[in-house]
């Protein structure tokens, strides 16, 4: 079935947006002139139950340089929270608002059924996800 927008529950509820965010990677390059920081080499972002892995993550600082505004994860992204998992080409994780926007043929698998879409917005705090843009759900026939 094709729908314009579908909202589903995603991951565990009440993820605290102020929980510490851990970034692990093989390398981190900090450009001296502009100060931008780019993690490369199987980067893993972790916060509470949420795990976001990507090939490359760029850190975007808040304007007055105190803290991170958002993380741009590119090069193939996998988001896992609780038993739900979502894959996409790219994900933008806005730490301040606790919202992850995944774009580029998003595939969400929850238990047996799977949903694909162009774009998915996950709100970690409320544990909900909105999928939009040619949302298709793939039901597994058979099973119990």
């Amino acid at each position: 079935s094709v729908a314009q927008g579908t909202s589903v529950a995603f991951g565990t509820l009440q993820q605290d947006p102020n929980a510490p965010v851990e970034l692990a990677a093989d390398q981190l390059a900090v450009d001296q002139a502009s100060g931008t920081a780019v993690f490369t080499g199987n980067v893993l972002i972790g916060q509470g139950e949420m795990r976001l892995s990507a090939a490359r993550v760029k850190v975007i600082y808040a304007e007055n340089q105190n803290g991170i505004e958002r993380l741009e994860a590119t090069g193939g992204v996998t988001l896992v929270s609780g038993q739900d998992a979502a894959e996409a080409a790219r994900a933008d994780y806005n730490i301040e608002s606790g919202v992850i926007v995944m774009t580029g043929d998003v595939l969400l698998t929850q238990g047996t059924n799977a949903l694909t879409a162009e774009r998915m917005t996950v709100n970690l705090e409320s544990g909900t996800a909105q999928m939009s843009g040619r949302v298709k759900s793939i039901l597994q026939p058979g099973g119990d």
Binding site: P17, N18, A19, P20, V21, E22, L23, A24, A25, D26, Q27, L28, A29, V30, D31, Q32, A33, S34, G35, A37, F39, V59, Y61, A62, Q65, N66, G67, I68, I95, E96
Partner: protein
């Protein structure tokens, strides 16, 4: 009667007072404390031996500009030439200003400088401060004296605008693609960022 008693008193004082003044003045220098010019430069014997033992440069300052226009300057409290011809610097600090923007300062308690192979090895607890807001601490740093190439082979702990970070090693050099100078943490990087702690 009273008049000549007064004049006799005046004539007596006219003579007595200058004599007393003369007496005070003359004894003044006898009683003053001895100033022995010989021993008012205090220094210890060990200092002399140390000075004699090896060549020593106090407060050396070394600065230059690389071919790309980055400014490099080193300074230390002193540099002693060791037996094996190597120069050992104390309280070394270096400032690297990059032509592409930004700058880095290094501070170390000790450093071995080998001008021959264009290298300085900084030892002790080294503090590296960068204009990007990253402050790094490590225990060994090898840096070139004439170019931008700072390597910390050992573990580096850093604090910065993005939180606290540990990395296997760290290198500051110019990026091959865009030529900008960058700090490259590698060998496994772990950063912890506390969103709660930032003041909104």
């Amino acid at each position: 009667m009273a008049a000549d008693r007064y004049t006799r008193m005046v004539t007596f004082f006219k003579v007595a007072l200058p004599l007393i003044a003369l007496a005070i003045l003359s004894t003044l220098f006898l009683l003053s404390s001895r100033i022995r010019p010989g021993d008012n430069i205090p220094f210890a014997e060990t200092e002399i031996d140390e000075r004699i033992r090896g060549q020593q440069v106090t407060g050396p300052f070394f600065s230059g500009v690389t071919s790309r226009g980055d400014r490099i300057s080193f300074s230390a409290t002193n540099v002693v030439t060791g037996e094996d011809r190597s120069q050992e610097a104390h309280d070394l600090n270096a400032q690297l200003d990059f032509s592409t923007g930004g700058s880095v300062t290094l501070e170390a308690t000790r450093g071995k400088i080998e001008l021959g192979n264009d290298m300085a090895t900084l030892l002790g607890d080294i503090l590296i401060d960068s204009t990007t807001g990253f402050r790094m601490v490590t225990n060994t740093v090898i840096t070139s004296l004439t170019g931008i190439d700072v390597t910390a082979p050992g573990e580096v702990r850093a604090t910065g605008p993005a939180g606290t970070l540990t990395a296997g090693q760290m290198r500051i050099t110019s990026n091959e693609t865009n030529g900008n100078v960058e700090i490259l943490f590698s060998g496994g990087v772990m950063l912890v960022y506390e969103p709660g702690k930032q003041e909104k």
